[in-house]
Amino acid sequence: MDKTTLIGMASIVMAALCMAIGAIGPALGEGKAIAQALSAIAQQPDASSTISLTLLIGLAMLESIAIYCFVIAIVLIFANPFWNFMVR
């Protein structure tokens, strides 16, 4: 197996792994956060505006972790610096 094949194979496998593993953590965390917020709203409907505002901020923070993984996966597949270097 020459170097180019190895780089291509490793990039694709790692992009898939990055997305797969990187989605687990944020998904679990977001599910937990939303469940907590829903039960809090059910107990105190008056505070729902404050709770949902804080929830949205927290979700945005959590979501960015999954987005980092996605960006890295996209870079590995479409704009891989090592691949570009080898092909050139």
Partner: protein, 225 residues
Amino acid sequence: MHLTPDHIVVARWGFAHINATILCTWILMGLLVICSRLLTRHLAGPEAPRSRWQNAVEVIVVMLRTQIRTLCGEKGDVYLPFIGSLLVFIGGSSLLEVVPGWHAPTASLSTTAALAFLVGVAVPFFGVLSQGFIGYFRHYLKPSAIMLPLHLVSETSRNLALAVRLFGNIMSGAMIAGMLLAIAPFFFPIPMQVLALLTGAIQAYVFALLATVYIAAAVKRGQEE
């Protein structure tokens, strides 16, 4: 398929070229300036009946002002022009996605990095405005001077996160539509496009909200001491 609109060259003169990001940004800026000029030309007073367009704009302004006031208190109205411009620009660039041939400028990392840089400048600016130069920059040395690099790293990384989050979300929307167009054309890309519109609107809100939170944190820190 292009990763970002940076790669789509619209016009070229010698070594200088105009890409789709620059073109769409200027179109959007012109559109926003003309629209806001037209909408605010004949504003009705507090008692007079409102026109349809004024109502529409007031909905956005009042919603934003309530949000900012919940986070910053009554003095938050100062931040309304800055936060509002961010929201309208990002929201407009995503919602114009319904126009064929439009490339959202926020799908390019350059645009989102510039927006995040604006937030990164605005946070110390409003902090200095409220607490004075020494008062604001003193918190970098708290609880001790050893924490200075950590403060700097945390500020840089959160602005980086702001840029990458917006870029990733908007770019993924355009990307998924492009991929599905190749796999299952005609019907299936349309629901995903609707989803991308929703994501764009939510991300505009989230960006504006996080900018408000960062500014509020910088300003509140001085009031508590």
